[in-house]
Symmetry: C2
């Protein structure tokens, strides 16, 4: 298994990080994700990191990168499921993930994306 | 990472199988899932197997088991994202996954669960 699956749910894409990330995998994920955003027209990307016991600067940079690339393709990235201990460690390390939105769980992350779609439609329609 | 994460989305639970399954992991998943169904009151379980290039009798049995256990807890299991080659191999092996519902992708699987919730509410209300 050398790819992380990207699941489509309506206008959002969901990625669950379960395995240890390394350079190749992170690059493949970015490529797959951009292709999927383009082909599906998704407006939101949810990344679940509830499996991760450690988020180091490599993962932090990857999340930032994904968020930046998705934004250029007009999709908002929301990182969900961060463990409390991970949040504490991130702040201690000075990694505040400033470029990434976060939500407590998938439901709340999806609500953020739905809200954005809703706002977009109003702007679009008006 | 010795646990497969179970994500809650509304009244459904989503499991993405990304790693090679073995006995311990399958047992842990069953345990976690039943606990999560009980605590969340979920009525549906979506299992995405789009990452799997091979589904052998072990995985087949695990899926059957999960479906049977979930059913006892009044939650319907839908297996989604099966690759065409996997479907062909399963039939060749005589493993038809008769106890498990399948759907092409997460969206359709979710629709099945939503429909079931809808039917349930009508029955319940009447």
């Amino acid at each position: 298994m050398d790819r992380i699956p990207i699941l489509q749910m309506g206008r959002a894409l969901l990625i669950t990080i379960q395995v240890d990330m390394h350079d190749q995998l992170a690059l493949a994920l970015e490529e797959d994700l951009t292709a999927k955003i383009a082909s599906s027209g998704a407006r939101g990307v949810l990344i679940d990191i509830s499996s991760l016991e450690i988020v180091d600067s490599f993962i932090g940079r990857m999340l930032d990168n994904i968020a930046a690339v998705s934004k250029l393709m007009d999709a908002e990235t929301v990182v969900v499921g961060m463990r409390p201990a991970v949040a504490i460690t991130l702040v201690e390390l000075g990694l505040s993930l400033s470029g990434v939105r976060t939500a407590l769980n998938v439901d709340r992350g999806m609500a953020i994306i739905q809200q954005r779609l809703h706002d977009y439609e109003i702007t679009d329609g008006g």
